[in-house]
């Protein structure tokens, strides 16, 4: 099974305290975890905290890991996503509906993009702002499928939805992003 999960062979070595395996794991996964956290939380410091906490879970899990189940990378994403949602829930503007409602409105009011973000000329900042106001589940679907490059089955499994539901979330996420970016003159609708 290890040939299907390239990360699995590192875990027993990590459990033994093998520093080269530890460094290899961090080198392979840190930027990926940080990107996930950044795009889910739109906050670098919080994303770094999530990455650190996720690796602490990896160290604890290493000696218990059994190949043959979920891929390690999928498990890693699950842990990081849970930590991201813990942080999102602690925010004042968080609502349960935003988290769980698969039928969140298709189109978001572009005026919801914070004023200070619109002042920034860089396209990346506008995209960050647009991502930040997407409904959580739409953002999660887009981040997992597009940016983290997970397969549709992996992403749907992580989100606990069917592939059809994932595709619906993706379509709405892209439609909303297109509308938001068009409003800012970044994208021609």
């Amino acid at each position: 099974m290890n040939e299907l999960d390239p990360d699995a062979e590192l875990l027993p070595r990590i459990a033994r305290g093998d520093q080269s395996a530890i460094r290899e794991m961090v080198a392979k996964k840190l930027s990926r975890l940080l990107a996930l956290g950044m795009r889910m939380l739109n906050d670098r410091a919080e994303a770094e905290d999530v990455a650190q906490e996720t690796f602490l879970r990896v160290w604890k899990q290493a000696k218990h890991w059994q190949s043959g189940g979920a891929k390690f990378d999928t498990w890693l994403h699950k842990v990081a996503l849970n930590l991201c949602y813990d942080r999102l829930r602690s925010r004042k503007d968080y609502t349960d509906k935003d988290y769980s409602d698969e039928n969140a409105p298709d189109l978001i009011d572009p005026a919801l993009i914070p004023e200070q973000r619109l002042d920034k000329s860089q396209q990346g900042d506008v995209i960050s702002a647009a991502l930040a106001i997407l409904p959580n589940r739409q953002r999660e679907a887009l981040v997992l499928q597009y940016y983290q490059e997970l397969s549709n089955i992996e992403a749907a499994d992580l989100m606990g939805v069917s592939v059809d539901a994932l595709e619906s979330l993706l379509s709405r996420a892209r439609r909303n992003m297109r509308a938001l970016l068009a409003e800012q003159g970044v994208h021609k609708a």
Binding site: L30, R44, Q52, F55, L56, E167, M177, H187
Partner: protein, 148 residues
Amino acid sequence: MNIEQFIKLTDAYGAIIKHWPEIYQQQAQEVIALNLPEVNEALKQARLLDEMFSSHTLAPVERTLFDSIVASAPKADNPLVKPSFWQQWNIKSWLGVSGFIGTGLAGAVAGAFFVSIWTSGLLPDGIDGVSESSGTMAQYVDVGQEWS
């Protein structure tokens, strides 16, 4: 795959067909090859959005973060790592145990060798007497007397 299905999947997965589920990729290429206006328009719109998304890059990982995460990992003396019984029997333990056993075996072999020679009658008569405790003590005393 019909045109509606293609457009629906483009809406979900974008214009980069390799990002699509594998089972659809071949059929999608066949639809693209038809060069239909509605297909081309859907791809164009999706491609524009993909380009926007791909422009969203993030700052690289800082060295201090990398180092602090590595430092949080298990080490030999880290309580996160509780070695199992068999892990505790590491190479040093085995060397200690094997050294003790080896010394004992060497003594036993030497003793057996000595006894076998003794019982075979190959030892000279003088040494034969040394094996008796009283003789050993007598020889020791004799030597001491000569020194004095």
